[in-house]
C-alpha cells in the first residue's frame, strides 16, 4: 500500500516537473504577461507603501546611529568647504569651456533630456542587484529599451519589460546587460557588462586603446538605444581577457544600486 502511495506521489511530481520544464524552456511570455501585469497593478500601491516605509525607516536608523559622528563630520566638512570654495572659482571657467566642447563634439547636454520621473517600488530579492520595479508603465509612456537614470545623468539600467502601470528595469550589473561605453579621458570604446548582478566590467576594449585607473566611463551612444554622455562609473583596474585579445576593466558604479529611490526614464 505504502509502495503504491509513494509511486503515486512520485508520478505526480514527475508529471508536474515535466510541465514546468516545458513552461520554462518554451517561455511563453505573451501568455503569462497579462497575468503578471494584472498582479503588478494589484500590488503596486502596497509595494510602493512598503518600499517607501522601509527606506524611510532605514534612513531614520542610519541618522540616529550617526549622531555620534556629527562633530567629527562637521570639522571635516568645514575644511572641505574651504578648499571647495577655491575649486568652485576655478570650475566656473572650466564649465564655460565644457559647454563649448560639448557643442563641438555633439554630446548631449545633461539638462536637456525629456524625463519620466518615478519611484522604485521593488527590487530583486535573490541576492543580486539585477533589476528593480519602476512605478510607471505603458500608460505613462514607458517603452522597452529606455535608459533609466538618477540624479543628473547617471545611468543605472534600461527598461527590459513594460506593463500597464509598472516596468521592470534591468540594472547595468545584471549578467544580461550590455551598454556601449567610452572612456572620456582616452576615447577608448568598449561594452559595459554586468557580472552576476554584483559588479560591472568594461569589456571588448582593443589592446591598442588606452585605459587608466580612475578614468571616467560614459555611454557612447553607439547603437542608438541609449543616449550618449550618461555617466556609468570610474575604472578601478585593468586586466587582459582570458583569450588575450582584449582589455577588460572593472568599473566602480557612480551610485549604489541597492539604495535607489527616485529614478527617471529617458524618453
Amino acid at each position: 500500500m505504502s509502495g503504491k502511495y509513494a509511486t503515486s506521489k512520485l508520478a505526480k511530481l514527475v508529471l508536474a516537473l515535466v510541465v514546468c520544464a516545458v513552461l520554462v524552456f518554451s517561455n511563453p511570455r505573451g501568455f503569462f504577461d497579462p497575468l503578471r501585469g494584472f498582479l503588478l497593478t494589484l500590488t503596486l500601491p502596497f509595494q510602493r507603501l512598503a518600499y517607501q516605509s522601509t527606506r524611510w525607516t532605514g534612513e531614520t536608523f542610519s541618522f540616529l546611529s550617526s549622531i555620534g559622528d556629527i562633530k567629527k563630520d562637521n570639522e571635516d566638512l568645514s575644511r572641505e568647504n574651504n578648499s571647495l570654495a577655491a575649486e568652485v572659482a576655478r570650475l566656473k571657467e572650466v564649465e564655460a569651456e565644457n559647454a563649448d566642447l560639448r557643442r563641438q563634439l555633439d554630446l548631449a547636454p545633461r539638462d536637456k533630456f525629456s524625463l519620466i520621473g518615478g519611484f522604485v517600488v521593488g527590487q530583486d530579492s535573490q541576492g543580486s542587484e539585477s533589476w528593480f520595479l519602476f512605478d510607471h508603465g505603458a500608460h505613462s509612456g514607458i517603452v522597452l529599451g529606455m535608459a533609466v537614470i538618477v540624479d543628473n545623468g547617471i545611468i543605472v539600467g534600461r527598461v527590459s519589460e513594460v506593463y500597464p502601470t509598472s516596468a521592470k528595469v534591468q540594472l547595468l550589473t545584471d549578467s544580461n546587460s550590455s551598454v556601449n561605453v567610452t572612456d572620456v579621458e582616452t576615447g577608448a570604446k568598449g561594452i559595459a557588462r554586468g557580472v552576476y548582478g554584483l559588479g560591472l566590467v568594461m569589456d571588448m576594449v582593443t589592446q591598442s586603446d588606452q585605459l587608466n585607473p580612475g578614468d571616467t566611463v560614459v555611454t557612447s551612444g553607439l547603437g542608438g538605444t541609449v543616449p550618449n554622455g550618461l555617466l556609468v562609473g570610474r575604472i578601478k583596474d585593468i586586466k587582459v581577457s582570458p583569450d588575450r585579445l582584449f582589455q577588460v576593466a572593472t568599473i566602480i558604479p557612480r551610485t549604489k544600486y541597492s539604495a535607489l529611490d527616485v529614478v527617471f526614464a529617458v524618453k
Binding site: L13, Q123, G127
Partner: protein, 178 residues
Amino acid sequence: MSKKLIIFLIIVLACIFQVSVFPGVFSWNNGPDLLLLLVIYWTIKEGFEGTLGRNILVGVLADLVNFRPVGTYLAIFLLVSFLVSSVSKRFLIVAGIWRVFTLTATIIVATLAERFLLEAIFSIATYFNRSDIGTVPAPFLSLVSLEQIFLNLLFFPLVYFFLKKIERSQLWSGQRQY
C-alpha cells in the same frame, strides 16, 4: 472569510515583503525566502499531496513577481516540497530537542536545494544559449547562500507562529463567537 482567500492573501503578502521590503533591509538585496518557508511549513503540516495546489500557487506567484519564466520557482518549490515531505515523514516524528535539530537541518537543506536548483536551471539555459530564461543569481556556494540560510532559520519561527495564530483564529475556522 474563506480559507482559500486567506491563503492567497498570505502568499501575496509574502511576495510584497520579499520584493519591496527585504531588499531595502538586508545586505546584497538578500532577505529570508518567505515563500520557501511557507512551502516548508505547509508541507510539514499536511504533506506533499495535501499542499500540492497551494504550492503550485506559491510557485506561480513567485515566478510572476520575480520576473522569472513561469515554471522556474514552481518546479523548485515542488521538488523542495517533495524533499521536505520525505524527510518529515521519517525524521520529524521524534519529539523534543531532536525535532528542533531535524527541523533546522530541513530548512538548511531546503534553502540549499532551492539555490542549487536555481543555479542548475539557469546554467542549463545558458548552455543552450537561452539567456532569455534568466541568469544565475549569486553563485550557489557563496556568502549570499550562507546569509540566506541564516535568515531563513531566523524567520521560520516568526512564520510558524504567525500561521499558527491565523489557523487558530476565527477567520480560519469561519466560526463566529457569540
